[in-house]
Symmetry: C2
Subunit: 279 residues, 2 copies
């Protein structure tokens, strides 16, 4: 028996463990020219997250056919897939045995990011909120995203396009919705995500593009000094691709040759590799 | 456009920020003899959580009338209230301005806890997962509960009724679904929740009962040594009341006079104080 915003409603999602506990995972996939980009990478990460949380991952073929169905003839869209552990039972945090996961496949419209950001770059800030550390949750794209919501609430200045977040050891981890790369001495640096952060699909694609381009990439602890001394800084996610950063708080950066080279390779369709959604 | 488990469905909750991000709060309220216990305390905590997250809290009078409606003539039940930031827009983690929160009021059946636990006590274990620390999220009952889900998945032995969880400094914080108290030299000790943990309603009620009984209660850092040396240990939450603990892993405890005295005062209806739902 339940009321949702005052109205009687038997919506099963209102008692789903996804809503109750954030007990699930999601993927946000760019659809360009009707094709979900990096499909296989997204599905691999979803499967990895399901393994970590002990959720039975829906069949990838089923997810693909349902994605095709919601996409219909859409050329440009965002495909969002959510998988939760399923309906809550009477055991609280403990899951019922034999419970069926819930899968949700959605076609969403493209967020209103200015197209010029890829060319002219973005200004970002460093958030004051520090991420908590839990290796069990690090890397996967789970549904517990309050830290990102709260970090995003720290600014309301439309000229700031993203916030960088640090952990409690003052190490740079990621952006609220993106991963971050530095260029130093011609090599890439990006934070390791052992303790917190999301291992983005575009992050892994950029690392592969760098390797294919002969650019070293070091995954390591990154502190604010390293950020301040970087030659170039850029952000990645599946929807924005690569955004050059021209300013972090009061510190300016040039948009340099490494960022531009990686953007060019990405735009050419390189890096999909095993991720290309062939059909 | 979306499919939920393969079926077309326009369920608004499937694009709610509660599901997308766990961007909300909940209360789980014991209904006994038709009365939601500690109503005012629950509503106060909900309002406090909404302030912390920057969510507009629904009117308490509205929540009360909707609770009455779903409870109808139920004598014994669980009342669950969820409040989320509302529908997701196109701004990702950033919330739309002027968005309306979503409120869900549910009547659930009582969980299958053995009634004897209050008398005979329970055996518990110490979980291996460590809680992440984030003061911004500590204390409030938000919807990001994956840590509790994962801690609860560590055991499947029906003789173990709860798991205690520590933070990354090896300090005791709480149980997966409960708060924990130690008795040492006649005084109560309970972990401070500055970095993580949920400040339970029954925890605060027990602290008030202790004060009214002349029992000192220290809110402080609690480590595993203090746990091992405690004279008594008990757990609290809104549904279980007070569960004495007779064993933590291989360490046995007597169910002692302080635990029994607090159980007796709680059963007598003391401690509701301002929390009594008068009607």
């Amino acid at each position: 028996v339940q009321l949702i915003n005052g109205r009687p409603d038997d919506a099963p999602l209102a008692t789903d463990r996804g809503l109750y506990y954030g007990d699930g995972l999601f993927e946000t996939i760019a659809v360009e020219n009707g094709i979900p980009r990096f499909w296989i990478r997204h599905i691999n990460r979803l499967e990895q997250g399901c393994r970590r949380l002990g959720i039975v991952c829906p069949d990838p073929g089923l997810l693909r056919s349902e994605s095709d169905e919601v996409l219909a003839a859409a050329r440009s869209a965002v495909l969002k897939i959510l998988v939760t552990r399923g309906a809550a039972g009477r055991r609280g945090y403990g899951a019922e045995e034999g419970g069926e996961p819930t899968r949700i496949v959605q076609r969403l419209s493209w967020p209103p990011y200015p197209a010029a950001h890829q060319q002219t770059g973005v200004a970002v800030r460093v958030c004051s909120m520090r991420l908590g550390t839990n290796p069990v949750l690090a890397g996967i794209k789970h549904l517990n995203r309050l830290e990102q919501v709260l970090a995003r609430r720290e600014w309301d200045d439309g000229r700031i396009s993203e916030g960088l977040v640090m952990d409690r050891k003052e190490r740079l981890v990621e952006g609220t919705m993106s991963n971050v790369f530095l260029v130093a001495n011609g090599a890439l640096l990006t934070p390791d995500l052992q303790g917190c952060g999301v291992a983005g699909i575009m992050r892994s694609a950029v690392m592969d593009l760098a390797a294919a381009s002969g650019i070293d990439c070091h995954v390591c602890a990154v502190d604010q000094d390293m950020l301040a001394r970087a030659d170039e800084v850029f952000l990645t996610n599946s929807l924005i691709g690569i955004w050059p950063v021209y300013r972090v708080d009061s510190c300016g950066y040039d948009i340099g040759p490494v960022t531009r080279a990686l953007q060019k390779r990405l735009a050419s369709g390189d890096g999909e590799g095993t991720g290309w959604y062939s059909r």
